[in-house]
């Protein structure tokens, strides 16, 4: 059985608001699934239902064979969950907090100590183990939450905005950790950082207004961008002349002027997303323009995200 999370028609209503509207998907071992969507799209609500904090209005999910409605405790045993904001008891130290989590998950004595040590090493918490959690920085708090989620070495990790509020180094560490854990687990992360999706996710789901709008790999999603395979040409001068010439190429649908940090450049957009770099370079060579830079765009996730969710 490779499908470790199977979400079936999951629906949640808050009064008259339909927060999650019949979402279905399944995730298999080794996948890192990124949950994308604008704020209030239903990402957290979906996670809260899968982890058993909220009861679904309709539909269900099966986690490692345990139905979240019929066997809620069985499902919770298989899940490591980092809730949004990484809540932890503020007056406890990471050590006593992790011991509490270990005990409640049924580990005692040496086994508990070994698991705590491993989780602490993985999240680099050693230096703050005895301080009250309320005195820790946001980054450390987040790591305490991660250590708590990893403690029982769960098959399924559900992380709600795992890198929110971390500095770039800490983000990098957490992403490295996620990638290291990925092969033997199912990991679902929610984020609105698109760079994160490109960095760690093997698959991305976009939800907006409670509905699943896209389910593909980050590369496939980026390929939906109108910028996919576009060519950026930066010339020393003569942009006007070049713009007219480029526009006449058969594969080109439009040419746009862009202004960036390096000055002006031309963005040559392909017809139907087909590669045009060959045509463009041929033209550049025959025309003899002085080229300062030339690059092919892979497409931008943020642009696709905006198109899908707008």
């Amino acid at each position: 059985m490779t499908e470790m999370i199977e979400v079936r028609d999951l629906t949640r209503r808050f009064g008259s608001i339909l927060a999650v509207d019949h979402i279905s998907f399944s995730v298999t071992r080794g996948e890192v699934l990124g949950f994308l969507g604008p704020n209030g799209a239903g990402k957290s609500t979906t996670m809260k239902m899968i982890t058993g904090f909220l009861a679904p209005t309709d539909g269900t999910a099966v986690v490692c064979g345990a139905d979240i409605v019929a066997d809620s405790i069985g499902a919770k045993r298989r899940i490591g969950y980092l809730p949004e904001g990484a809540p932890a008891y503020p007056d406890m130290s990471p050590r006593s907090f992790l011991r509490f989590i270990a005990e409640i998950r049924g580990f005692a004595g040496d086994e508990a100590r070994r698991r705590i040590d491993l989780a602490v090493a993985r999240t680099a918490l050693v230096s703050v183990m005895e301080q009250p959690i309320e005195t820790l920085s946001k980054g450390f708090k987040r790591r305490v939450g991660l250590a708590q989620a990893l403690l029982h070495d769960p098959d399924v990790l559900i992380l709600d905005e795992p890198t929110d509020g971390l500095d770039p180094n800490q983000k990098h560490e957490v992403r490295t950790l996620i990638k290291a854990l990925a092969p033997e687990k199912v990991i679902v992360i929610s984020t609105h950082l698109l760079e994160e999706v490109e960095a760690v996710c093997t698959r991305a789901i976009i939800i907006a207004a409670g509905r699943l709008l896209a389910d593909a790999t980050p590369v496939e999603l980026a390929a939906r961008s109108r910028l996919h395979n576009a060519v950026r040409v930066n010339l020393a001068d003569g942009h006007d002349e070049a713009e007219t010439a480029l526009r006449r190429l058969p594969g080109v649908v439009a040419v746009e002027r862009v202004v960036d940090l390096e000055g002006g450049a031309l963005l040559v957009l392909p017809r139907g997303g087909r590669p045009i770099v060959g045509e463009v370079t041929d033209l550049v060579r025959t025309a003899g323009w002085a080229v300062r830079g030339l690059s092919v765009e892979r497409g931008r996730l943020d642009e696709v995200f905006r198109t899908i969710t707008a």
């Binding site: 969950y81 949004e84 503020p90 007056d91 998950r105």
Partner: protein
Amino acid sequence: MHATWVIFRRELASYFTTPLAYVFIVIFLVMAGALAFFVGNFFDRGQADLLPFFNFHPWLYLVLIPALTMRLWAEERKSGTIELFLTLPVSIGAAVVGKFLAAWAFTAIALALTFPFWITVNILGSPDNGVILASYIGSLLMAGAFLAIGAALSALTKNQVIAFVITAAACFVLTVSGSSIVLGFLTPWAPTGLINLVASFSFLTHFNAIMRGVIEAPDAVFFVSVIALFLYVNAAIVELKKTN
């Protein structure tokens, strides 16, 4: 069972990691003493018993127990830890009972620390220690009932002040439901059966019966039933909040 025990230990320890435990115990002891000595005329009565001490327990609990229970669930909801807590592999029943027992054990500690009163009366005279023991047990049972009510009401809100106020109000009504304050309001229109039913819910009546020195089954059963009922209500509220 195991989960209840783990939650119980964490909750009980949490009272002592904050100043709450110390503030509560000191205030409880000072107020219990002040009420017994100055209002209850502990010495002037010239009797070797602890009646003036126990007499004020319902009123003391009325103020202090809501302060103890208001945080039980409301604080978890406010700080978001409830999401962590309720996604651990623990049944809601175990969570409710663990939290309640920790609060009850804490109250028992505070109550046990009143032992100097017991020593004092034993030095000054020869009291009926059986009556005193019964009163302690009665007081603890009554505290348990207050705590169960407070815990259940705390699960209704994420605002601790609201939890405090509604718990104090509910406990007040139950405490005095045998007195003219409540019965006088009912007598003009309510049928006798209802009046007797309301009167039978009076904490004061049941506690006073125990303070006379006999723990009779109906009085003990009354408090235990209130505890059981409100623990059930507590679990139902927590469960309901998952769907609403």
